[in-house]
């Protein structure tokens, strides 16, 4: 337990020295602000920016609801550009340690390999969640300010789903890191796999309801305690545990 605490603390310290604690929340705040801003000022932007004469927005169109705006922020912005930057930020979680020789240094001490992996997963997951939550909170406040009230429980459910998905992506990157050696291929492969895992369940939701990405393709007004949502959460947790177990097995076999 003490080694776990020390290793996790070291990761946070390193994130602080790399300015990750600063730029990750800032980036997510910028992402979270973008969607409400674009929807709010669509008319003004179309009328005044660029040479878009003749384009009009249907004046009878339904006013965007706050739930739609918020879920578009999380499922659209956060899950596309946000996911790319998140994976870029932690794709070197094992690879950089391996390249600097830090892994040899740590693993020749009395540190269990499982504890080492778990501390990597926990600390990078928490750093990513920290940035993501700050961005989501900003987006929620702005959405409520401009588009009317939104039930905090629904917003919390959407944020919770995305947090689980983020944790899954961290464990996926950890698993891929045990197969590949260099950081950039790890990042690209985990990005491709996670995008596939989001795309496939949204194409065939009836069959692939147990995939982790299925959480993100639920309709945005699903309540927390509906059965489809509970099944999604439980299957996502099981997937995270399975992938962590698999990477622990892989990591035990490889000799460093």
């Amino acid at each position: 337990m003490r080694t776990f605490y020390t290793l996790t603390w070291t990761e946070w310290l390193e994130a602080w020295k790399e300015w990750k604690i600063v730029w990750l929340p800032l980036f997510f705040i910028a992402l979270g602000v973008t969607q409400p801003l674009l929807l709010m000022y669509m008319d003004v932007l179309l009328a005044h920016v660029g040479s878009a004469d003749g384009i009009i927005v249907d004046p009878n169109r339904p006013v965007p609801q706050s739930l739609d705006v918020f879920s578009a922020t999380i499922y659209g912005q956060f899950n596309q550009l946000g996911l790319i930057v998140l994976i870029m930020s932690f794709m070197g979680l094992l690879a950089s340690d391996r390249q600097t020789g830090m892994q040899d240094f740590i693993l020749t001490r009395p540190v269990s390999r499982n504890v080492y992996l778990l501390s990597k997963w926990f600390s990078h997951g928490m750093i990513s969640l920290f940035g993501m939550l700050i961005g989501a909170l900003t987006s929620y406040c702005l959405t409520v300010y401009w588009f009317g009230s939104l039930s905090p429980l629904l917003a919390l459910r959407i944020i919770l789903d995305f947090s689980l998905w983020t944790l899954f992506v961290v464990s996926l990157t950890l698993l891929i890191s045990t197969f590949l050696r260099r950081a950039v291929p790890i990042g690209i492969l985990s990005l491709v796999v996670s995008l596939l895992l989001v795309a496939l369940p949204s194409l065939i939701p009836d069959i692939l309801f147990f995939m982790p990405g299925a959480l993100l393709s639920l309709p945005s007004h699903t309540s927390f305690f509906s059965s489809s949502h509970l099944i999604g959460i439980i299957s996502c947790l099981i997937w995270i545990l399975l992938i962590l177990g698999w990477s622990a097995l892989r990591f035990r076999k490889t000799a460093y």
């Binding site: 300015w19 800032l26 910028a30 602000v33 003004v44 005044h48 930057v85 930020s89 070197g92």
Partner: protein, 75 residues
Amino acid sequence: MNTDFSALSQIDWEQFLPLLLIYISINLILLGCACIDWFRRKDRIATPTTWLLIILLVQPIGSILYFVLGRRMTA
């Protein structure tokens, strides 16, 4: 290029301004962090001038690219 600057006066600045300030300040903080870090490490980065140009010119993403990629590419 749009040279019709009268459009700027038609925008509802009163609602726009707080948000614009948020955006500009986020960008400035990012830019400042990246510049400070670049200045400290400019002898160790592989191609420092290129990265400074990227930070300054590719405004929203450039500094993040520097933090993720540039500062690890040591000479």
